[in-house]
């Protein structure tokens, strides 16, 4: 085999070209090409740095991102919450969950370098994952992006044991690509990301609601309502927070507001019917749940809506629906 290679050196050249071109997924200069609307360089120098202990880049990077958002916490404390000894590492979802548990919004960024740079330029450090190894032999790593320099073609990271790592942007892109370009922001609930996207922001805040961080969810929903006054989702989120707190009058008004914004919203119809039932308005409850049932047909909400409908049907069998006090 070696002999045949020696006789045909062009094979080696072809193989080398194939390997090299395979690696160079990002031609030089291309990485920053969409960032010309941003300053040439930007760096959030005041972002603190927590040094990584053995295998614990997750807790360290999370501590860095959290303290930048105003929550001072040591990596040791976070390790108990996110580290998996058997994996010698931490999972992305658990980092986000630990941030949520401290009333922070964990906002997943779109997988584009420009989006990360926009956040950095706006003063928001980015928690991200890299694969510093190979596809087949991965070395997963969490770091925090705090700056970039278009002239020097570098990004600046808080990484592992290095407080300020200037990494060549091509190299960074390869490591970030190999980690499926995962990147999140950790924000206080009253601060929106730069160029916020409704879907991404709502997903982050609704996760706060679903895990019981109601005060933080409410503050963030209020920000969202200010940003997207025409969208049903922030209004619906606020109504759901009210319901979870037992503020039923406020919740009912909130669901009505939501339906004014989107008369087709299944969740608003369903939840409103539940509240109406609870205060004895069976007829109205039935009309909203019928609407919800029609709208939910064929979607993933069909099952929960059907369960509410059964609940209402059982109650209306016993109740004539005559008593419905004004709210």
């Amino acid at each position: 085999m070696i002999g045949s290679f020696r006789q045909r050196p062009e094979w080696i050249a072809i193989a080398l070209i194939a390997i090299l071109s395979g690696c160079a997924a990002h031609p030089p200069q291309a990485a920053f090409q969409d960032a010309t609307h941003l300053p040439t360089r930007s760096e959030i120098e005041q972002t603190p740095f927590y040094k990584q202990e053995q295998y614990q880049c997750g807790p360290a990077a999370l501590a860095t991102a959290l303290s930048a958002s105003g929550v001072i916490v040591e990596p040791e404390e976070l390790a108990a919450e996110v580290y998996l000894p058997g994996r010698k590492g931490s999972l992305q979802v658990e980092l986000a969950a630990a941030a949520r548990a401290r009333d922070r919004v964990a906002y997943t960024l779109a997988p584009r370098l420009t989006d990360l740079l926009e956040q950095v330029a706006a003063g928001n450090p980015v928690l991200l994952m890299q694969n510093l190894g190979l596809k087949l032999l991965p070395a997963w790593h969490f770091a925090v992006l705090v700056g970039y320099d278009r002239d020097a073609q570098t990004v600046i990271l808080r990484s592992g044991t290095t407080p300020r790592l200037a990494m060549d942007v091509q190299r960074f892109m390869r490591t970030w690509d190999r980690a499926q370009r995962w990147a999140i922001l950790i924000l206080p609930p009253d601060r929106l990301p730069a160029h916020p996207e409704l879907d991404r922001y709502m997903a982050a805040v609704a996760s706060l609601e679903s895990t019981g961080r109601l005060d933080a969810a409410e503050r963030a929903y209020l920000q969202a309502r200010g940003q997207w006054p025409q969208s049903v989702w922030p209004a619906l989120g606020l109504a759901n927070v009210s319901y979870a707190r037992g503020e039923l009058r406020k919740a009912e008004t909130g669901y009505l507001d939501s339906l004014a914004l989107d008369p087709q919203n299944v969740v608003a119809h369903n939840n409103l019917s539940e509240i109406l039932l609870e205060r004895g308005c069976v007829t109205q409850a039935r009309s909203h749940i019928e609407r919800a049932t029609q709208l939910a047909k064929g979607t993933s909400l069909e099952v929960p809506v059907a369960s509410t409908a059964r609940h209402i049907a059982a109650a209306s069998a016993q109740d004539s629906g005559a008593s419905c006090p004004q709210p």
Binding site: G58, M129, W140, T161, A203, S210, L236, Y243, L277, T299
Partner: protein, 127 residues
């Protein structure tokens, strides 16, 4: 009689333990905002039915990975249903960020392999 009482006690405990694991905001009849925005054009009976199972599965996996018993419950409570589902389905395949020390180990292995290849090249190819 004692047996019956024991049996009842076991059932009550079992139910209360299952209750501990259930999401705190699952009020009957109310659909969460998250469920609303994540709703898809496909039914997901299966996902709903498996929620309790997913939680139990992740609990077992975390224990097996050496998470402190007292921490498991708190860590599970912080996850959304969708996240629990993902962990239950593919925790073993999800990347776990470890950091640079592991990288040094890998670099060593790669260097070792390269060196081994290099040795063959140098010693066998030189006439």
């Amino acid at each position: 009689m004692v047996k019956l009482m024991q049996k009842t006690l076991v059932h009550v405990l079992a139910v209360s333990i299952i209750g501990l694991g259930s999401p705190m905001l699952a009020q009957a009849g109310i659909i969460s905002t998250l469920e609303g925005i994540q709703s898809t054009q496909a039914q997901s009976d299966l996902a709903r039915i498996n929620q309790a199972l997913a939680r139990e599965q992740v609990r077992e996996q975390m224990r097996a990975l050496g998470v402190d018993e007292a921490q498991v419950q708190a860590r599970l409570a912080r996850l959304t249903e969708a996240e629990l589902q993902t962990l239950a389905d593919r925790l073993d395949h999800l990347p776990a960020g470890a950091g640079l020390l592991e990288v040094i180990g890998i670099v060593f292995i790669v260097l070792f392999i390269l060196e081994a290849v290099g040795v063959i090249d140098v010693f066998k190819n030189v006439p």
